[in-house]
């Protein structure tokens, strides 16, 4: 039997969690030790990947280019592939937002997941039925907001960071008219001050309505006792992070479909 004491508590008042350790008898057993049953299988996977990489290294030369020449910059000038998602976001957001705020939200959001998640199901059993919300949110965050942007930045962006489909040649002379306008301008507001006020109102309203709608949805779906158990702080942080994810997708679609540059524009901050 193993005993675990709650951190920070005295031995006399320590909460004892007793977990029986079952002796592993083989891979077919219900519960077996991580080592060697899991680690060995994982190591075999790593070996297979390494074999693939060595064969690749033997057959294909690395696509290295000539030494950098500051007087002749390449077009398009692309970041390493794993940063192309961030570079692609620069098309849609201010550099401070795409390069600082959103990556910070990603990192902080990933760090707080264990504190926000109170679903006891799925601890080690990641079946979709028990964790629909978590898995779908992960799908949105990882596949839509990260992987798809890397794919777009790698394969679909050519000279001038213009959009090229795979069957189109990368013509460096392609000219695209920059017809994007800010949302306040689109609805007819020409004054800078009132345009900023309007934009700020849209941003605030998005979060206010979004949080209220999400609150009503969670209460409708899971009941008020769940919301009481979850707590307003945990709910508020979750809703804020989730609405930011939705906002990124919405902003990108608005740019692609309606040529909207910014929702809110000020001399200091654009959103």
């Amino acid at each position: 039997m193993a005993t675990v004491s709650a951190p920070g508590s005295t031995p006399s008042s320590a909460k004892r969690i007793e977990v029986s350790i079952k002796k592993a008898v083989g891979p077919g057993d219900d519960k077996v030790h991580t080592w060697p049953h899991l680690v060995r299988a994982e190591f075999i996977c790593a070996v297979l990947v390494t074999v693939g990489l060595i064969v690749w290294a033997l057959l294909v030369d690395a696509p290295l280019e000539e030494p950098a020449n500051p007087s002749r910059t390449p077009n398009p000038s692309k970041a390493p592939w794993y940063f192309l998602g961030l570079q692609e976001m620069l098309v849609f957001f201010d550099p401070w937002h795409a390069g600082v705020v959103l990556p910070s939200l990603i990192i902080v959001g990933l760090m707080v997941i264990p504190y926000l998640d109170i679903n006891p199901k799925g601890n080690g059993y990641y079946c979709f039925r028990d964790r629909k919300w978590e898995i779908l949110t992960f799908f949105l965050g990882f596949h839509i907001l990260w992987i798809s942007l890397i794919v777009i930045g790698t394969l679909l962006r050519g000279p001038g960071w213009n959009w090229f489909w795979p069957w189109q040649a990368w013509d460096p002379h392609k000219v695209e008219a920059l017809t994007s306008v800010n949302l306040p301008y689109l609805v007819g507001i020409r004054d800078y001050f009132w345009a900023a006020v309007f934009g700020l109102g849209i941003v605030v309203a998005f979060f206010a309505v979004g949080i209220a709608a999400m609150y009503a949805w969670v209460v409708w779906l899971k009941g008020p006792e769940f919301m009481e158990r979850w707590g307003l702080v945990r709910f508020g942080i979750t809703a804020f992070l989730f609405l930011n994810m939705i906002a990124v997708v919405a902003k990108m679609l608005m740019r692609h479909m309606f040529n909207i540059k910014y929702i809110m524009e000020t001399p200091w901050i654009n959103i």
Binding site: P27, R40, F43, I44, V47, L48, T50, V51, L58
Partner: protein
């Protein structure tokens, strides 16, 4: 040539390691053979790594 020889030895070594692990996973009491394969595979891999060399910076 040196590069290809080195990489090929690395490939053989890593395949040895993989086969040893697979043998250990699928056979009861196969630890001795598994360890032997792991050691031999690692040694062949390291020899390949030394032969391959790296160009001067």
């Amino acid at each position: 040539m040196r590069f290809f020889l080195g990489k090929s030895l690395q490939l053989i070594g890593i395949c040895n390691v993989g086969f040893g692990l697979l043998y250990g996973l699928t056979n009861e009491g196969g630890l001795r053979f598994e360890l032997r394969m792991l050691i031999v595979g690692s040694a062949v891999f390291l020899i390949g790594r030394m032969i391959e060399g790296r160009g001067a910076a």
